[in-house]
Each structure stands twice: as structure tokens, then as C-alpha cells.
Amino acid sequence: MIIVSSFVSCSDVLDKTPLDIISDEAVWNDEALIEAYLVQCYYHMSYFGNESGGAGWQGDGYFPAFVVNHVSDECLSQWRDWGEAMTGYNYKFGGLKIDGGLLDWWGYDPIRKINEFIEKVPESPLNQDLKGTRVAEARFLRAFSYFAMAKRYGGVPLILKAQQLTDPEEELYPKRDTEEAVYNFIISETSEIANELPEEAGSGNLGRATKYAALALKSRAALYAASIAQFGKVQLDGVVGIPAEKAKDFYQISYDASKEIINSGKFALYDQDADKVTNFKNIFLVKNNSEVIFAKRHDSSNGLITGGNGWAVDFFQCPRPQGWNRGNLDGPYLELVEDFEYVDGTPGKLNRSEVENGLWTMDKLWGKKDPRFFATIYTQETPWKGSFVDYHNGLLLPDGTIMTKDSYKGVLCTGDQDLEGTCFGVMKYLNESHDNMAGTDAAWATSSQDFLLFRYAETLLNLAEAAYELGKKGEALDAINQIRERAGIASLKEISQDKIRHERKVELAFEGHRYWDVRRWRTATTELSRSFSGLRYILDYSSYTDNEKKYKLEILDNIDGSVSTPLFKEENYYLPITLNRTSSNPNMVENPGYK
């Protein structure tokens, strides 16, 4: 019987269908599926998570969200034994070569999907208003993608439709457009969609692009274009570099876009807490506050293993205790620490010989620092979870010797933090109440803080920079002083290019700006080709027993090691297109200097 029945069904053997996919036709005729398509496009904007290199495992949930900090002059990666972190090191130490690597982001995959969306949605059954908004959102994502590529590679081919294999060869194998053309495209797109996107996303749609997200992108992109025109040089017939005479125009565009955001009155510098340190920390902890123009939203569902929307900032950056007995991924350089001024506006530069002689309480050493210092960086004795961060590496005994292991009369010779690094960590974005003890694959990508892609302070800094270059020094000074006032330090009396850049470095530290800023200013060959230092705290036993802890300090030069000192070469102002890509399309030229 079995035999008979099994043969009867033989005609069906080849009649099989895939049971796990949704058909093409279904997608473009179903509102929910069209929305889901756009969700995927948002998801693909991996650089929403601080330039991290891809989706999923390599996205917000993992440490690549911080590599853009490591390759700048802000900090080093302290997870010295991590293979991936080592790669970052090589990149920073002259290892950026024609084969590319870290920070590479070639966005034609998402761009194709966006182009397809832009083409298909107008014929879909979506209602007319929604069509306009959704297409404008898609155009925002496309402009963002082109900006992400322009700041890496310079000019790239502008592909604005989903190509077919039957398209003419010159379209399928395009030449690179000029850098100027790409910036012009971003500017014209953002100008157009600013009128089509809603002013506010509305609570259910937070996370979607708005008019002001588009303008903020325009403000930033135009500023980049302007500085490249002003400081860079035109090569390869404009494929990289922008003619100097265009600088003013771009500054003006950036200035105008910033102005429009400011004049809208919808945003303000966050200033809610009396304590300036708390206030500055809260910019990054209070969701959707007055300063937020556009953010990549997160919640606490594990973004790593279970595919949630959490990210891993707390787990990677927190001081100990931490699940892996690590944390403190970013080790801010002492030079960055020194960039934070004192409250009275005096420079934060330490007198190194004075520092290394004598004993210091932490209050004496740091007490008068800019409140933003405490909100951005933690170090010895920074309060943490009811205790304090302890970096001390050695115990100065009454006889003048330094003990570095075990304990002396019940006093431990070393603290519990990472003692081989700079003895600083990044406080910005840290949520002190987050549980960082989750270890291996257990819920460590669970930070729910939104990542701020555009915030009002940047708009002010953009405005200041553009205004200054356009000769509007008063306006520039005013913008910078708004920021300083909110921060809680003395206002400036006069403005200069250096002061604007300095303010930008301090205000926006560890937000993924610095590396790109020194590139567009063309100062990276000096700023990123030098050695940096760290600090060593040696606890004085006598002062400990006197209940007023004092430390002997040691400045650790060459903290990256002399084998690997940072090196940024002239050609590194642009990432390489890479051999693989240029040889797949011989019409695309490689960037200058890469062989």
C-alpha cells in the first residue's frame, strides 16, 4: 500500500515552491511591505552608528562604532590584544594603503535599493502624501550615502537610478564624477527634500528623516565642500579637490542652512540641569531633547545576538567593574585632556615638569577644568556607581620606593582599571545605571541611548566656522560663546580660526567628527602624525593614610609605542578606491598617491 500510494504522488516530485520568500509583486502592492522596504534602507545606513563598518555584528552593537575615534588624535584603542583593534592601529600608523580596510564604505548596494524605491513607490498604491514623504526620506538616505562616500573617496560616480544590465556601457561603467559635483548633488537634493519632509517626525515616527535633518546634512556637507575648496588642492581634473574659488559659495550655503535651522526656533542648546557636568552628560542621555536634530534611535533590546536595537557603548567604554574585566576601550590622549580649558578660560595645557614633581590631589590637578571635561572623560577618582574609578599604578612608600604589586599594610598597590593605557576613559554617552557585568554574548549590546547624528551645537559650530570664513566674525564669536556659556566656562572675547576649531574639538569629542575635520582642514598630516602621551598615577601611601589622597604623576610619552607612532600620509586625505574596484571598472581612476 505504501508503495502504491508513494508512486501515485510521483508527479508532484518536481512541483515545489520556496516557502520562505515574499514575491516581488506582493511587495510593491502592499503598504506594509513598502514601509518594510524603507525600514531596510534605514537599517542599511550603518554609519548612523558612528561610521561603524556594516550592519549587524559590525554595527552599533559592536566596537567598530568607535574606530573613528581611535584613528583620530582623540584616543587610542586600549584593547591591545584584540585582532580587530590591531588592524585599527596599523591603519593609524601608516598602514592605510591601496587595499583599503578600516572605515571603507562603498555604498552602491544601499543606493541601488534606494533608487529602486524612488522609482517604484510613485506607481504604488501608497496614498499621495505618504508617497511624497517616503520618497523624500529615501532621497535623504541617498544623499547621506553619497556624503558618506564623498568624505571618504572624493568624487564618485553619481548613480541615480537602479541600473539594468541592458543599460549602455558608459552608464554601467561610469567615470567618477568630480568631488564638487557630488557635493552639489547632496546640496541640491537636501534643498529640495527639505520642502517635502515634515518639520517634525512625530512621536511614532521618531528616527525618520525630517526637514531639519536634511538641512543639518546640507549644513555639514557644504561646510566640508567649502573647506576642501579652501585647503585642498584639485587633482585628477577635479575628481578630488574643489576649486578654491568655490569656497565662499559653499560656506554661504552651509551658513544659510545653519541659519535656517537656527531661525526655525525648533531647537535649542540643552540647558536643563543646574549642575553643568550633569547637564552636558544629559545631552546624550535624555532622549529627543531640545538639542537633537536627528538621531539613530536605540532601545535596550540586545542588538547583538537577538537582533534588537541596543548598542554597546556602555559595555565597551565603561570603567570597571565590567563583565570582561575590561571596558575603557577608548583611551583619551593626555593631549586631548589638555585641550579642555579651565573654567576661567585659561588653557588646559599642563606644565609637565611641574606636574611630574610633587604630589597632587585630584582636585588640585583637575578641579578647575571645563565641566565638559568631566562629562566627556573619566580618570582617577571619577565617581562611578557609588565608588570611584581607580587607575593608580603603584604605591609610593614612605621610603620613596614604588611598589607595583600586592598590597602594603592593607593598601592595594594598584587600582582595578586598565593600567597599561592612558589612564583616561570616555564618559560621554555612558549611562551610569547600565549593568556592564554581562559577559560573553549575554546582553551586552543593550545600551538604549540614542546616537546623535545631528545636534544643535554642531549647527552652531558649523555656523561659526562658515561665518568666520565669510567675514562675519561677530556672528561666529556669538555662536561659539553660546556653546561656552551652556558648557559653563568663560566666554571668548575674540574669535579666530584656531579657536573655532578648538571649540569644535572639545565640544564634539568622541562623536565621530574629529577625524573627518582634520582631514577636510588638511591638517591631519601634522595633527595625526605625532606621538601622544598618557598619564600614570602613583598613590602616595602617607597621604592615603592621612585621608587626603595625593598622587605622584608620571607622563608616559609615546603611549602607542615607538614601533607604531601615528602617521597620516598626504594621500590619506582620501581613502583608496582599491584595486578590486578600479580593475572592475577601468573608467574609475584611483586616488592620487596609492600604488
Binding site: 505504501i2 508503495i3 508512486f7 510521483c10 508532484d12 516530485v13 518536481l14 520556496p18 516557502l19 520568500i21 515574499i22 514575491s23 506582493a26 518594510a36 525600514v39 531596510q40 534605514y42 550592519a55 590584544d81 585582532g83 600608523f93 552602491y108 543606493i111 535599493k113 533608487n115 548613480i159 537602479a162 541600473q163 561603467y173 561610469p174 512621536s203 511614532g204 528616527g207 534611535r297 536605540h298 532601545d299 533590546s301 537582533g307 567593574p321 563583565g323 574585566n325 600586592d406 598590597s407 592593607g410 592595594l412 557585568m437 559577559g439 560573553t440 554574548d441 549575554a442 600614570r536 608616559l556 609605542g561 615607538s562 614601533v563 584595486l579 580593475s583 571598472n585 577601468p586 574609475m588
Partner: protein
């Protein structure tokens, strides 16, 4: 002659413990082999006395007459065709006569005698009717097989004379001999034996079965074939060879035993230690067919397997679209006509690591850490250890300065593996049965709860003759395996317990004064391997697999057409997998001795997590076949097979997980937090339909022809691209059967040349690529709601089809002086085309989508295999030694790739026209030993004007002389990591009741990337001993300076080394209890043995303590290969 269905018989084996009574005899027909098992008593039987036969033949051959008798009665004839002249013409006319009368008529006037037992008739030469007058003293003797069963019809000759006799039905013979004569006792299917006559009056001769015999039946695709008549390249291995030494995976017993198999056992992990097996080194895996069904044979117990055949050339084409990379056919044992024989095999095995690097002591560790720190130019004041501290570690007197030997702490020297099984085998003419129950329990090398592997195999194979024409086959097989391992895997590479092991620091104690606290030993986030290797502390992954297979087959012999039969075959296969993964949280502490303080140092998770997954895959196979076998006009032997096959596949899975378990003490989903729960699932289905035809023809067993044709359709592909046709043809010429070779036959027993050509395919590509659609992918938080995204599956590809293969093979079989020297050789060439590849490599990277896979790439394989062996039987001693060697390598014919514009890029990357396994890298020239050498280097090695170089760094060669070391200086530095050359040497010796078997196996022609240190927190002792340091400032130190230049990490010939080895893969020494003792104990046979695997290894990687079969670049970083020592017993009743 008795004709048995192709599935009803196999070799008769004397596998461990299975002692069979049997009388194998030579049959004239193909596909015929028979087994008898009764004790032959006297020439009578009730059936013989009652059966009545009428016969009327005129001038027909004896053979035809016997066939008619068989057709008209239940009698079966057994005889040796060397002794019975089948071609003699006789006329018989009887009516309603008994068998005795007929036989008397047929054989009147000849020396052929007969014995009848029940319905079996044995024809033999009457020993009382000697052909030659005998002289000298009379000697009597008995010839039996290894199991003590009399051999009927064996030739007993005084060597060099025509004086001889033939054994009777009891195996007895008598012969007149003279002292000093050399008696040669021979019988087909057995190795002949020579005995020098001294003063004895009687002889007891035991003949050993000749495993290389030409009449041995070999399982081939959808049938069997006599070995002598094979025309394809087929390697076979029998049960007893695979079970010489206990192994957990059948696959691991194959390497080196067969020519043309490239194997590498890269792991020793319980439940995952099977070797990679590649037929002829083909890049992809062969398909495995177990009892006619495509399935994994790794979990089949070696003891339940009768034989394995590997189809290496066009002979695989009969499996069509799946056969391109070779086919491995596995056949389980079946019942035989005999009294029930119960066999029990039991063994205990101890497994230990072959070799692996061991971690350094705390003193050495601190030395290296400091050295690395200082040599990388970091500030000395914060160097991890001071000189004094290092000294304290060495002194070991200060309780703060611990030295933990984590290797001894965590890894045991020997871990047990238990294997026990019981089988029963027997049957009558009507029903035959085989039942098997096996158990295997394998523990891991971890000292504390490191997981284990348990397997239960149950099999029941039944053959029943329902009527004379209709027979039924009913097979049921059940395999269950339970594999428990740690949450962090144990296989190889990153995120494994091995990584944790090398991150577990010797400076931390293994235990703390407070035993409830776990000592922190770093472990890079895991606390240490003492936590992650212990399932009690960190949790577990349990994999439970159940495989159920059932076959029903009905075979009908069509009475009216001689040799014609039809068969239905249905198989249902159900594979169920259940995985449970439970992560347990734990916290670690550091301890300060002086202040008696515990310092919290992290934890593995802060709450328990549980995830479960159910997987099920089903397969329903139906076959209908018609078979025709016949010999026409004596010389023309035909065999035709036509078969239809349809297979349905379906599968589904479901997973669920929760985090934040209420308590880690309950390991069930319901205690998890509902807010964290997730689930997922999917289904799939697939189908395949095939027509198979085969035609075999042989003329006088001299000229052999086999052709096959298979048509396959797979639902994977678009309608219109589903059908593929896979023909093959092969020819053989048995030169020794030619009359002109008659004179040479005393020297040359067998010489055959053969040639084959076959086409086949490989459909291992994704399903439904001809359809495009969308899948769920990605998520994005809008407002507070997580929204799901969908993403296209890519461009549709309606034209994708299977890969195509063509294989040519030429081979030779030879045997001299009754197998004193024998062997075979094969040379092959294979063309593989239509390998799926993406066109995207030649598409602009601005297109934004990659092409789907298309049948674009092609490659060619070539190689050869040779075997040479020698075997001989003496009175108390026999041996069989054979060696094999094979070589193969593949080349890309076409590889879809971009048009390289840069000549160096082309040289390094272009694959078309090149061997597929070339490794490129930099050429090293030792280490720098002085700053002067660096200053005088003459080119920029580190792209920083050599500022980062110091003595102890690797010095490279600026190959192209452009004064800078960059990617263009890379050249080919070696071959791939799978061997091109494989060789093996089998030694089988038997002396009286002792047996000895050894298998040496080796490989060369490959490379291994020596990665002693994987940038883990601690270091291997070998690195400490072999590294460059100021005290060891030599240019040939095996490891460059720690903390050295970035360029030391380049892929170069400094680390990419040639590998090769020879190892004693298995060794067994057995002892059979004497017959008399067995009889007293009421047992049939009892063998005790000692065995071992991987006991000796000679190789080039010895100094690194890296096993030559270790996965390349993973030395010390994977579950190491094991050597084993076993003691076991085979008992049969």
C-alpha cells in the same frame, strides 16, 4: 544455480566475532553468489527423497541441465567449476524421478560425486577415484576455513607433480606423499597454503579467505559486480578492516587504506572528530549513500557496516546530478543462512593528545610580557612586570606570585571511549535476519564536565522469501546521538574554549581560599578556560540527533523470462535534531593575599540565557526497477537494469529563546523573562526525479562493457532547465582470459586493462535561484517600535543549472604468482565546468547588486593512484602487505574574475589557468640581527623608511627591486593546505592464533601556516624557547621579536611551511582463543586484542608541537587530534 537478488547477498565475512559456516563456491554467472551454512552430514535429506522431477533433455550442457533442475525444484547446486565440466553435453530423460537418479544419469562415467543435504546439492570430485597413481605413505587431512568450516572441493597437490586430491564434503582428503614433498592446498576465494611434509600422518589445514579475490562481489551503484569484472575505478573496504582499532567515526578508519582518498582528520573533538574526506582530492565532498539512501554515514557504527565502495570515475555517473565529486556507498550487514550467531564486541579505549603546544609558566609569561612591552617602545615605567617581579614568579616562594599549570589543571592525559555492541545474524532459506545494537560513549579531554558524546545505533535488516518468486526486504535503522559541549565551542579558532585556554594566565591561581568563588584568570572576557571548559560553570550546548530510516522492498522474479526480475523500493528517512543551549552566569574574583581581599573581576553574563531549536528533515525515496541477467549461448553474459527514482525532501525548523532566567537552576524556557523571548522558524521543500539505465555485457568474461545513462530532474532549477543527462561507458579486457595467455597463467593470475568515461553533475547550489523575492532583513526603531525590514534575495537567475563533470579514467589490475604480487593502477583526468560563480567580479562596483550565481567557472583535475601488494599463506603464517600512493591536483580552467589591468595584480590574483591552491606571500630572508643590517637594507621595508624596524624583525626581499616593499613583492610561496600526495601501507600478518594489523598513512605536497601564537594573552612554551630575543640574536630564530614591526605579521614563507608526515594510523594485535578451549566454553570464537591509533608520527612540524593534520594556522588553537590505546574482545556464540 541459485540466483539471489542483488541486495540479498554480500560478502560473507568473518568480521569480528561473526563466525559463519559457509561454503563459498565459484559461480559462473554475474550477480550470483551464495552462502550456505549447514553442517553437511550425509547424503540424504527428506526433501531429496520426496521431490520428484521430470526432465527431458537432448544433448544439452551439464550447466543447462542443472539449471533446469533448479527451475523445476527447490534444489540448489554448489560446485567448483574447476572440477565439474559444465560444458559436457548430456541427454537425460526421466519421468517423476528422484534427484539421485537424475544425478547418477548426468554424472555417470565421470569422477563427479554428489552430496545432498536438504535441498542443497554439493558436487565434488570423488577422492576415491584418483586420477594419478599415488606412491609413498598415505596422509589424510582436513581443510577448513578460518572459522573451522570444512572446505569442499579444495585442491591438494604435491607441488611440481600431478599428484593430487580434492577434499570431500567434510573437507577431508587423503593422498600418498613422500617425506619432503611440498603440499599446495588451494581453493578459489582463499589464499593457497604450502606445507612441507615431515613425519605427520594427518594434517589440519586452515585456509585464509583471500580478500583480494576476483570473484569477490563489490557493491556498485544500484547493484553489485564481481571484482574481476569491474571496469570502473572503485575502491572497496570491508568491515573487518575498518574495525581493526576502535574509532568513533567510521570515516576515520578510511584514510590511507584506500588509494585516491585525500583525508585530513583535523579535530579530536568528541562527536565532531570525523576526518575530511575528498575523493581524489576533489575540492567538494563526495555524496554518501547508505543502503541506497543519500545520508551522512559518519554516525553509522563501523561494526554494522558490511562494506564501503568508493566510486571514483565514470562508475559514479549512475548517480547523475549528485555524483561529480565521487560517490561513497555504504552497505550494512544482512542476514545469512546459518544458525543464529550472536556476536559481542566490547572495547575500552583511552584517548590522549598526539601533540600540542603547552602554555608557559608564570615566570616565562612575565618575561615575555615585559619583553613585548619594551620591544614595542612603550614607556618602561608602566611595563607589565618588573625584573624583580619576574624573579619572584620564577622563585615561587611568595604566595602572591602564583604559577598555575593550566594544561595540567584542565586537561587530562587520557580520556575514555567505550564501545560495545551486540549483533545477531542468521536465517533460513525462508527468512534471514541481522540485528545490531551498538553503544559508543566518548568523553572529552577536559578534566571537569567538558562534555561528551554518546551514540546508540540500532539496525534490523530482514530478508524474507514470501513465495518462490517474491521476496521482501525490510530494513529499519535508528541512530541517536547525544553530544554535549560547552557554550563556547571547542572546534577551532576564535570564540572557542581553545582561545580561552590561551587567554588563561598562569599568574592567577586555579583555586581561591574561598572555594565558592571562582578565580579570575583573565580569559579575555570569559574568566578563563577553567570556567568555559566546564559546563557546570558556564553552561552547555546539547545536540540530540535522531535518525530514523525504514526501507521496504519487494522483489519479484518473473518466472516466464529467465533472469528477469522487478523490484519496488521505498525508503522513508527522518532526521530530527534538537539543540538546547544554556548559558549560565558566573562571577570571578581576584584575591590579594596580604590583605585577604577579594576583588570583583567581571563575570560571564549576568543572567542565564536559554535557546532551543528543533530541526527536522524528511526524505521519501521511491524506486522501481527492472533487472535482467542472463548468459546466452554460454559466452555472452548480459545484465540490464532500468530504474525510476523519485525523491521528495522537506524540512522545517523552529527556535525559541529567553534571557533573564528567573533562576539559573531551572534550565527551561518558562522561567525566562517574557520580554526577552524570541522565536523563529521556516520550512522548505525540494524534489528530484530520475531515470537510470545500465547495460553490462561480457564476452567469455574476457571483454567487458558497461554503459549507464541517468536522467535527473531537480526542482531546484527553473522548468526547462531541470533535466540533465549523464551517460557513462567503460570497457575492460581481461587479458589473462585469452587463450594465448594460457601458458603464462602459472605466473600471471590476472591482468586486466580498463578504460572509462563518464559524465555527472553537482547540484549543490541554492534552491530556487530562478525566482527572486524578498526576505525579512534588518530592523529599525521608529518611535519606540522596532520595525522589520525586507530585502531582495537578489537578481533572479532562471538559467542556473548543475555543474557538469566529465571524467576519463584508465586503469590496470594485475596479479602474479597467486597474489604474491598484485595491485592496480589508475590515471584520471576530470573536467568540471559550470561551477557557480558571480559575474559581479566583472561588473562595475557601482552597479549596486551582485549577479546571481551562474554556471561560469571551470576547472580540471588530474591524478593517479597505484597499489602494490603481496600476500602468501604458509602453514601457520600468512601475510598480506599492500601499499598505495596517489596524487591529484586541480587547476582553474576558467575563473570568472575582473580584467586585471595591473600586471602584478594579474600575476598574484588571476586564477584562470592556474593551480587552484597557490599561496602568495612575501619572501623572507631571516631576521635582522643588527641595526647595521637595517640601515644598509637598501629599500623601504615598512613604508616608514625602516624607522619601525629593529633587530629581531623579519627581513624581507624586495623581489621586484623597486626599493620599496609593497604588495607587488608577493610571490607564490607554497601550495594549499590539503595534501596532493597521499600514501598508505597496510600490513596484515597472521601466525597461528595471533593476528597483527598495522596501517601507516602519510601525506605530503601541502603547506601549513605555522601560527604558534594567536595573539592570545599567554604564550606557548615553544615560542618562548624558539623566539628571537637579545640573548638569542640569531637570524634563524623561529619567531621574530615580540612587539616587533607590523611587517612581521605579513603572510610570508617565514611561517608558511611545507608539511608532510607519515603516521602509524592504526595498529592491532589480536589473539584467538584456541578452538578446543572455545568449545569447552561453549563459544564459537573469542578474540582479544590490543589496538591503537596515531601511535607514531614522523613529520616536519614536530619542533612546533603542531600535529601535521592540524588545521592550517590553528596550531594549539583547536581540539587536538587524539592518539588512542584500546583493549577489546570479540566474542561469538
Amino acid at each position: 544455480m541459485q540466483k539471489l537478488s542483488i541486495t540479498q547477498f554480500l560478502w560473507v565475512t568473518k568480521s569480528l566475532g561473526l563466525t559463519l559456516k559457509k561454503i563459498p563456491l565459484v559461480m559462473k554467472l554475474f550477480f550470483v553468489f551464495l552462502i550456505s551454512s549447514i553442517s553437511l552430514l550425509h547424503a540424504s535429506g527428506s526433501y531429496a527423497q520426496t521431490a520428484r522431477i521430470s526432465l527431458d533433455t537432448k544433448n544439452q550442457t551439464v550447466q543447462e541441465v542443472l539449471e533446469q533442475i533448479e527451475a523445476k525444484s527447490n534444489f540448489s547446486f554448489f560446485y567448483n567449476n574447476r572440477h565439474v565440466d559444465l560444458n559436457r553435453k548430456v541427454s537425460v530423460s526421466v519421468d517423476d524421478a528422484d534427484i539421485f537418479k537424475i544425478l547418477d544419469t548426468v554424472f555417470s562415467g565421470t569422477n563427479v560425486g554428489y552430496s545432498v543435504v536438504e535441498n542443497r546439492i554439493v558436487l565434488s570430485v570423488k577422492s576415491s577415484n584418483p586420477v594419478i597413481t599415488q606412491k609413498g605413505k598415505k596422509i589424510t587431512g582436513t581443510v577448513v576455513d578460518a572459522a573451522g568450516i570444512p572446505i569442499i572441493g579444495a585442491n591438494v597437490m604435491v607441488k611440481g607433480t600431478t599428484n593430487g586430491a580434492v577434499t570431500d564434503i567434510d573437507g577431508h582428503f587423503s593422498l600418498n606423499v613422500e617425506k619432503g614433498d611440498l603440499l599446495e592446498i588451494s581453493y578459489i576465494g582463499y589464499l593457497s597454503s604450502e606445507i612441507k611434509i615431515a613425519n605427520e600422518q594427518s594434517l589440519a589445514v586452515t585456509l585464509k579467505e583471500d580478500t583480494k579475490t576476483l570473484d569477490e562481489v563489490v557493491v556498485v551503484g544500484y547493484g553489485t559486480q564481481k571484482k574481476g569484472n569491474l571496469t570502473g575505478s572503485i575502491a572497496t573496504v570491508k568491515s573487518e578492516e575498518m574495525t581493526v582499532a576502535p574509532v568513533s567515526s567510521t570515516i576515520n578508519s578510511l584514510g590511507g587504506r584506500l588509494p585516491g582518498l585525500v583525508s585530513q582528520q583535523a579535530s579530536g573533538q568528541p562527536g565532531a572528530d570525523q576526518a575530511t574526506i575528498k575523493v581524489r582530492g576533489f575540492a567538494d565532498n563526495a555524496i554518501w549513500i547508505v543502503d541506497g539512501i543519500e545520508t551522512d554515514f559518519n554516525r553509522v557504527d563501523p561494526n554494522q557496516i558490511e562494506s564501503i565502495s568508493i566510486l571514483k570515475d565514470g562508475s559514479a555517473s549512475i548517480y547523475g546530478a549528485r555524483a561529480g565529486n565521487g560517490v561513497i556507498l555504504v552497505t550494512t550487514k544482512r542476514g545469512v543462512v546459518q544458525k543464529p550467531t550472536i556476536a559481542i564486541n566490547s572495547s575500552i579505549t583511552f584517548q590522549g593528545i598526539t601533540t600540542m603546544p603547552k602554555p608557559v609558566s608564570s615566570g616565562d609569561y612575565a618575561t615575555l610580557k615585559r619583553e613585548e612591552w619594551l620591544q614595542s617602545g612603550k614607556p618602561e615605567s608602566t611595563a607589565p612586570y618588573t625584573e624583580e617581579q619576574i624573579q619572584k614568579f620564577y622563585d615561587g616562594t611568595d604566595p602572591q606570585y602564583v604559577n598555575t599549570d593550566w594544561y595540567n589543571e584542565l586537561i587530562r592525559n587520557w580520556s575514555p571511549l567505550n564501545q560495545h555492541n551486540i549483533s545477531v545474524r542468521g536465517g533460513s532459506e525462508k527468512i534471514k535476519y541481522y540485528g545490531f545494537l551498538g553503544y559508543l560513549g566518548q568523553e572529552s579531554i577536559w578534566k571537569n564536565n567538558g562534555g561528551d558524546y554518546k551514540r546508540y545505533n540500532l539496525q534490523s535488516n530482514i530478508d524474507a522469501n514470501i513465495t518462490d518468486q517474491l521476496s521482501l526486504q525490510l530494513d529499519l535503522s535508528f541512530i541517536k546521538s547525544d553530544n554535549m559541549t560547552t557554550v563556547r565551542g571547542q572546534s577551532a579558532g576564535e570564540n572557542t574554549v581553545w582561545q580561552d585556554f590561551w587567554n588563561t594566565l598562569p599568574i592567577y591561581p586555579a583555586h581561591l581560599p574561598d572555594p565558592t568563588r571562582i578565580s579570575y584568570a583573565d580569559g579575555k572576557g570569559t574568566g578563563g578556560a577553567h570556567v568555559t571548559s566546564n559546563t557546570d560553570l558556564s553552561g552547555y550546548t546539547k545536540d540530540e540527533k535522531l535518525t530514523l530510516t525504514g526501507t521496504i522492498a519487494l522483489k519479484y522474479n518473473i518466472k516466464w523470462v529467465k533472469g528477469l526480475s522487478a523490484k519496488f523500493f521505498v525508503n522513508y528517512y527522518d532526521d530530527i535534531k534538537f539543540q538546547k543551549r544554556f548559558s549560565r552566569p558566573s562571577s570571578f574574583y581576584r584575591y590579594d593575599v596580604a590583605s585577604d581581599t577579594y576583588i570583583s573581576a567581571g563575570g560571564m553574563g549576568n543572567s542565564a540565557q536559554l535557546s532551543q531549536r528543533d530541526d527536522r528533515s524528511k526524505m521519501l525515496t521511491r524506486q522501481f526497477s527492472v533487472n535482467y541477467d542472463n548468459t546466452l549461448a554460454e559466452d555472452h553474459t548480459l545484465s540490464v537494469l532500468a530504474l525510476y527514482e523519485a525523491i521528495d525532501y522537506s524540512g522545517n525548523w523552529m527556535s525559541a529563546s529567553r534571557e533573564d532566567m528567573l533562576t539559573p537552576s531551572i534550565e527551561e524556557l518558562f522561567v525566562g523573562n517574557t520580554e526577552t523571548m524570541k522565536n523563529d522558524g521556516a520550512s522548505s521543500e525540494m524534489g528530484r526525479k530520475s531515470f537510470v539505465g545500465r547495460f553490462n555485457y561480457s564476452y567469455k568474461n574476457k571483454y567487458l562493457l558497461e554503459t549507464t545513462l541517468r536522467a535527473d530532474a531537480s526542482a531546484k532549477f527553473a522548468p526547462g532547465h531541470r533535466w540533465g543527462f549523464f551517460p557513462s561507458a567503460s570497457l575492460g579486457w581481461r587479458i589473462t582470459e585469452e587463450s594465448f595467455m594460457e601458458n603464462a597463467k602459472s605466473v600471471l593470475d590476472d591482468l586486466k586493462v580498463r578504460a572509462s568515461y563518464g559524465r555527472s553533475g553537482n547540484d549543490a547550489v541554492g534552491n530556487f535561484q530562478y525566482l527572486s523575492g524578498y526576505k525579512l532583513n534588518g530592523y529599525y526603531l521608529l518611535g519606540d517600535k522596532s520595525m522589520s525590514g525586507i530585502v531582495t534575495t537578489g537578481l533572479a537567475n532562471p538559467i542556473l543549472s548543475w555543474e557538469k563533470f566529465e571524467i576519463w579514467n584508465v586503469g590496470l589490475n594485475y596479479s602474479f604468482l597467486n597474489q604474491l604480487i598484485y595491485g592496480e593502477g589508475d590515471v584520471f583526468y576530470r573536467k568540471r565546468s559550470g561551477i557557480p560563480a558571480k559575474r559581479s567580479m566583472s561588473l562595475s562596483p557601482t552597479f549596486g547588486a551582485s549577479f546571481p550565481d551562474e554556471n561560469l567557472n571551470s576547472m580540471t583535475d588530474r591524478g593517479f593512484e597505484f597499489i602494490v601488494g603481496s600476500s602468501k599463506n604458509f602453514k601457520d603464517f600468512s601475510y598480506n602487505i599492500s601499499g598505495n600512493i596517489s596524487w591529484s591536483r586541480a587547476k582553474w580552467d576558467h575563473y570568472e574574475e575582473q580584467m586585471y589591468t595591473d600586471p602584478d595584480q594579474k600575476r598574484i590574483n588571476q586564477k584562470s589557468g592556474q593551480w587552484i591552491d597557490r599561496q602568495f606571500g612575501y619572501v623572507s630572508d631571516g631576521l635582522f640581527t643588527s641595526q647595521e643590517e637595517i640601515d644598509n637594507l637598501g629599500f623601504d621595508q615598512d613604508n616608514k623608511q625602516n624607522a619601525s624596524l629593529r633587530p629581531g624583525d623579519i627581513r624581507y626581499v624586495d623581489v621586484n627591486g623597486d626599493k620599496v616593499l609593497d604588495w607587488k613583492d608577493q610571490v607564490e610561496i607554497g601550495k594549499g593546505t590539503m595534501p596532493h600526495w597521499m600514501y598508505g601501507l597496510n600490513v596484515d600478518l597472521k601466525y597461528k592464533d595471533f593476528d597483527f594489523a598495522a596501517l601507516f598513512q602519510g601525506a605530503f605536497g601541502y603547506n601549513s601556516n605555522i601560527t604558534l601564537w594567536h595573539n592570545t594573552l599567554t604564550f606557548p612554551q615553544e615560542l618562548y624557547d624558539l623566539r628571537w630575543c637579545e640573548q638569542n640574536n640569531v637570524s634563524d630564530a623561529l619567531y621574530p621579536r615580540l612587539g616587533g614591526a607590523v611587517t612581521n605579521g605579513y603572510t610570508s614563507d617565514y611561517f608558511y611551511k611545507k608539511a608532510g608526515y607519515l603516521r602509524l594510523k592504526s595498529l592491532a594485535i589480536g589473539y584467538n582463543l584456541p578452538k578446543e578451549l572455545c568449545t569447552k566454553l561453549f563459544i564459537k570464537q573469542c578474540r582479544v586484542y590490543f589496538a591503537g591509533t596515531n601511535l607514531l608520527t614522523f613529520d616536519k612540524l614536530r619542533k612546533y608541537h603542531i600535529d601535521p593534520e592540524a588545521p592550517s594556522g590553528q596550531g594549539g588553537y583547536y581540539y587536538p587530534q587524539q592518539k588512542t590505546l584500546s583493549v577489546g574482545v570479540n566474542l561469538s556464540f
